[in-house]
């Protein structure tokens, strides 16, 4: 929360590098999805998507350079969503 107006300027090259990684990950996720890994497929897809989301968040959305408050509350939000999705499996998996 301190010194909120100190801005971090990301260089174009960093941003472009992130874009390249994102495009590469897109190619990888398409590639992986064509191989039959059974149940692992969906987990691989989610994992790669999470990586991509991480890059977008950390660099494009500047979360890496934001205050601790934003970082923590973001994790809390994702955590709550994960709990909501996770907890319905108490019901669905055991019905």
């Amino acid at each position: 929360m301190e010194s909120p107006n100190q801005e971090h300027i990301l260089s174009y090259t960093t941003l472009f590098g992130v874009l390249c990684i994102l495009l590469a990950l897109t190619a990888i996720t398409i590639g992986v999805s064509r191989i039959d890994l059974g149940v692992l497929n969906i987990w691989a897809a989610i994992l790669i998507a999470a990586c991509k989301a991480g890059f977008v968040l950390l660099f494009f959305m500047h979360l890496r350079y934001e205050t601790r408050l934003l970082q923590i509350t973001f994790v809390v939000t994702i955590g709550s969503l994960a709990i909501l999705i996770g907890f319905i499996f108490w019901d669905i998996s055991f019905r």
């Binding site: 929360m1 909120p4 300027i9 941003l15 969906i42 494009f60 959305m61």
Partner: protein
């Protein structure tokens, strides 16, 4: 908001809090997706194959690149390059429109094939198929609405850049519109593998 220099960190915090609500909004649909995927895994995989991977991948790239251009616009405005900032926001908006055009044709094809919410084909199909497409239309539809809102926000930013209300020390509007645009991208990052790529 008390003093003449608005508290930028506060405005951004407000925007992030709003983004959290958006994440939870889509989250509700992903709850349904998770539940139904675990129940009808094979039906979902079969139905997913009928979606066009090429268009999906194309749209993914479009959104990723537009996210990049929006992020670069912020860098540009910080470096006092107002013209290139305006151009970059403009390019992002063009990409946004392209995305919608693609989506329009994609939906159009599905409608022609008799796959739309409440269609007789889906009602008679095996259990689970209409759930897949129901979720598909709901999520992508809601996502499309968010793209449109994002475009409106970007055009406001573009207007402010050209009228110099956004400049190197005062660009929180652009930043917040950018955050919103990235969120729309984030959601698509999950939609793409979960609907187009499941095998």
């Amino acid at each position: 908001m008390n003093s003449s220099t608005p508290d930028k960190a506060g405005v951004k915090l407000g925007m992030w809090l709003f983004l959290y609500t958006e994440i939870m909004l889509f989250g509700g649909l992903f709850v349904l997706y998770a539940a139904y995927y675990s129940k009808y895994t094979s039906v979902f995989i079969e139905a997913g194959k009928s979606l066009d991977i090429t268009i999906g991948a194309l749209n993914t790239m479009i959104l990723l690149v537009s996210s990049f251009t929006v992020a670069s616009a912020i860098t540009a405005i910080q470096k006092k390059a107002r013209r290139s900032a305006a151009a970059l926001v403009g390019v992002s908006m063009v990409f946004g429109v392209l995305f919608l055009v693609n989506k329009y044709f994609e939906w159009g094809h599905k409608f022609e094939a008799g796959i739309y919410p409440g269609s007789p084909d889906l009602s008679d199909a095996e259990a689970g198929k209409s759930l897949f497409f129901g979720l598909y239309y709901l999520i992508t539809g809601l996502h499309g609405i968010h793209i449109i809102i994002g475009l409106i926000l970007l055009s406001i930013s573009l207007y402010f850049i050209t009228t110099k209300r956004i400049h190197e020390t005062q660009f929180v509007v652009l930043e917040n519109s950018g955050l919103y645009w990235h969120l729309v991208d984030l959601i698509w990052i999950f939609i793409f593998p979960l609907f187009y790529l499941i095998l």
